[in-house]
């Protein structure tokens, strides 16, 4: 490798990996929906107010990903729900139903939790406040008195074991009176007066926005999803002061408070960090320093992150895939194996691949880079193989008959002849990479995926476009760059119209 190329690679690695701090900070994560991000921000800001260095790993892909990251030490703390622990994370271990049992089960595994924080985020039934007030309906059992009320439920809730069928049985409601439809449509139907009852999460922002009344689950049907802050015990031992302060959050956020915080984010479009900071100041009297990143600076940071993800993974893929492609062209049997192997990698869904990477590489840029690297292999290996095996036999024989050594044949004849095809493979890999790299936001790698997923969780189309448009433009630019490279470097004699 030439010196400039080596320097460029080093620079990209530095950009992609971020400077590795000497002492690891407290890594606070959250899942990719507003409520979780608000809680994560509140925890992070509160911990930072004690002087502990905090790393923000917000809006990660999902429960499995957060839990794996916590278990592997890539995260120290994130907001979770007791119901999720019982129903998903510790499902196979026969997790105890009560809080103290849950705490003991977690302690045995090296985890602990702060809380409950006060609110439940679980399924609930809601009605327009006006209708509920007029008919004096406060609890789900009151619905039995009003069979005329139209019930529209989300399709998922209609099907779930812990959804409508069990609910109807517990409250002796006629199961047939509910119709299934899309959740968004149900909420709109409620506002338009086409429906009177629907299912909702108990802290949904729509409750405040549309003036809904949440009916009391007076027969205790819905499992509890109490919010907690799940953490690693070794982190708590390292920063006892910070965790003592974090303990102050317990019991501070009731359903109404969480609902209001969610509404500020989702309806008033106030950044989660600001909402969290305001809450801490108001409720705990803790002033926290937080600066919102200016838009243009956020844009450049994302562009840098995105480019680093794509270019490091692509460079590494080129370095591996070219020799693999050459090898598989030389050794047909081995070649079939190599092509099959890189093909199988391609069939792994991207999110699954990212999740596989967490235990190995933690969260952040590295797992995303590794996944992109693996995805980039196939187009490059395949095109290198196709380009080399596509060279007509007589040409290769002519080269051999000249007495050129193998290496010289490869460099002077075969690679130049296959160059256009190989370049096309690298181009596909690069363009696909730019699209796939947006998923990196789900493992905390940043990039243009960040505003896209933020926009999705906040129902904010302009935010989605803030990521989607630059990502598309970047893909177009890369496409154009490769077209230019082709014009400059594909041997003139191989073009349709040599100049």
């Amino acid at each position: 490798m030439t010196r400039p190329a080596a320097l460029a690679l080093l620079a990209l690695v530095a950009l992609g990996g971020g400077a590795a701090a000497a002492a690891p900070p407290l890594r606070v994560g959250s899942k990719a929906f507003a409520e979780s991000v608000i809680l994560g921000e509140a925890a992070g800001l509160l911990a930072a107010s004690t002087g502990v260095p905090v790393e923000d790993r917000r809006a990660l892909g999902g429960t499995r990903l957060c839990w794996d990251a916590l278990a592997s030490g890539a995260l120290d703390l994130y907001p979770e729900y007791t119901g999720t622990l019982r129903e998903e994370i510790l499902k196979d271990q026969g997790a105890p139903a009560d809080l103290e049992g849950l705490r003991a089960a977690l302690t045995a595994r090296g985890f602990g939790f702060i809380g409950p924080l006060g609110f439940d985020n679980r399924y609930a039934l809601a009605m327009p406040e006006a209708v509920a007030a007029r008919l004096d309906i406060r609890a789900i059992s009151d619905l039995a008195r009003h069979p005329e009320l139209r019930v529209g439920l989300s399709n998922e809730f209609m099907r779930r074991r812990d959804g409508w069928p069990g609910l109807a049985a517990r409250y002796a409601l006629s199961e047939g009176r509910a119709q299934g439809l899309d959740h968004e449509l149900a909420i709109r139907g409620l506002a338009a007066g086409d429906l009177e009852v629907t299912d909702i999460y108990s802290t949904d922002a729509e409750i405040a926005r549309d003036g809904l009344r949440v009916l009391t689950d007076d027969r205790g049907y819905f499992p509890r999803y109490q919010a907690i802050l799940l953490y690693r015990r070794d982190a708590a031992a390292r920063w006892p002061a910070a965790f003592a302060v974090l303990g102050r959050l317990a019991g501070q956020i009731d359903d109404a408070t969480m609902l209001r915080l969610n509404a500020r984010v989702k309806i008033d479009k106030i950044p989660e960090r600001t909402v969290a900071a305001d809450f801490l100041a108001e409720r705990l009297g803790v002033r926290t320093a937080h600066a919102d990143e200016p838009r243009w600076r956020a844009f450049w940071r994302r562009a840098r992150e995105h480019l680093a993800l794509c270019s490091v993974s692509l460079l590494a893929a080129i370095l591996c895939a070219l020799p693999l492609g050459i090898l598989s062209a030389r050794r047909p049997r081995l070649g079939q194996l190599v092509l099959a192997a890189v093909g199988v990698v391609q069939t792994i869904p991207s999110l699954a691949l990212l999740v596989f990477m967490i235990p190995l590489l933690g969260i952040g840029a590295w797992p995303a880079t590794a996944a992109l690297f693996l995805y980039s292999l196939l187009p490059i290996v395949r095109n290198t193989h196709a380009g080399l095996t596509g060279i007509p036999g007589p040409l290769r024989e002519s080269a051999e008959a000249l007495g050129l050594p193998r290496r010289a044949i490869l460099w002077r004849i075969e690679l130049p002849l296959a160059f256009g095809t190989i370049l096309a493979g690298i181009q596909s890999a690069a363009v696909i990479n730019i699209g796939t790299a947006t998923l990196g936001a789900l493992v905390g790698a940043g990039g243009f995926g960040q505003p896209i997923f933020a926009g999705i969780r906040l129902d904010d189309v302009s935010l989605i476009l803030e990521g989607a448009i630059p990502a598309s433009l970047l893909a177009l630019a890369v496409q154009a760059l490769f077209d230019l490279l082709e014009r400059l470097f594909v041997p003139k004699g191989l073009r349709a119209n040599p100049r």
Partner: protein, 261 residues
């Protein structure tokens, strides 16, 4: 291994009982063939008769199943094959030029690889341009922008660049239209006479073979049917096949170019 039947002075290429089988099928029965400096041999026969196999054995692109291939007295082996190839020139149908290299780059490829000085390369190129009567202004063109005859001349220049002892031509005029073909035949014949090299020309055209070479080798299904001059083949055919082959060629060629030989 058969003994060398006709010991000749300065043998360049010797096939000593060399044979080749592919998938259980004999593509070349054990063959003895020697070619000396200054001699031109024409390999003729229908397609699939083993003509090209002989060239590929000579180049070491194939190794014989039995027997030996000797180049300038030494058996061809992995250790010396590349050096031997640099003393052979190989021209295939349509030139076998590398499409990503200009005519000049094709011609100079090996010399550059071997690190010849620029002055030496220029001198040699000029010599060959003159010898092959190639238009010098077309040297910077890519093969796709050359005529068939020009491509063939570039192929010949490339084959001759390192001044090889042995020249192997596989259907060198197979893809050339008739007028250019006659012109190239004359040029080639003159070049062979001037260079004093050992030359093997493979062709399926009896008249063309006879035009280039005094000694003809007629092959059929991997076996030598008859060796000798065109006159021998015409007057004393070794097998009825020889007569059939000659007759078939006569019917094809209305005005055989061989008349000038």
């Amino acid at each position: 291994m058969g003994p060398i039947l006709n010991p000749i002075l300065d043998p360049i290429l010797e096939l000593c009982g060399a044979s080749k089988r592919y998938d259980g099928k004999t593509v070349l029965a054990p063959l003895d063939l020697q070619i000396a400096r200054g001699e031109t041999v024409g390999l003729i026969g229908p397609s699939g008769s083993g003509k090209t196999t002989i060239l590929r054995l000579a180049l070491g692109l194939l190794t014989p199943d039995a027997g030996q291939v000797r180049f300038r007295g030494a058996p061809l082996a992995a250790a010396n094959v590349r050096a031997a190839r640099q003393q052979m020139g190989y021209v295939v149908q349509d030139g076998g030029l590398f499409p990503h290299l200009t005519a000049a780059e094709n011609v100079e490829l090996m010399a550059r690889h071997l690190g010849w000085e620029a002055g030496r390369i220029d001198a040699r190129r000029a010599e060959l341009v003159e010898l092959t009567r190639f238009p010098a202004d077309a040297l910077e063109r890519y093969p796709s922008h050359l005529s068939g005859g020009q491509r063939q001349r570039v192929g010949l220049m490339r084959a001759l660049f390192l001044d090889p002892a042995l020249l192997l031509l596989d259907e060198p005029l197979g893809a050339i239209d008739p007028l250019v073909r006659a012109e190239l035949q004359d040029d080639l014949s003159a070049i062979f006479a001037r260079l004093d090299k050992a030359v093997i020309v493979v062709t399926h055209d009896l008249a063309e073979a006879a035009f280039f070479a005094r000694r003809l080798v007629l092959l059929r299904e991997g076996r030598v049917v008859q060796q000798g001059s065109i006159e021998t083949l015409l007057r004393a055919p070794a097998e009825p096949f020889v007569t059939r082959f000659v007759e078939a060629q006569r019917r094809l060629a209305i005005a055989p170019t061989g008349g000038r030989a």
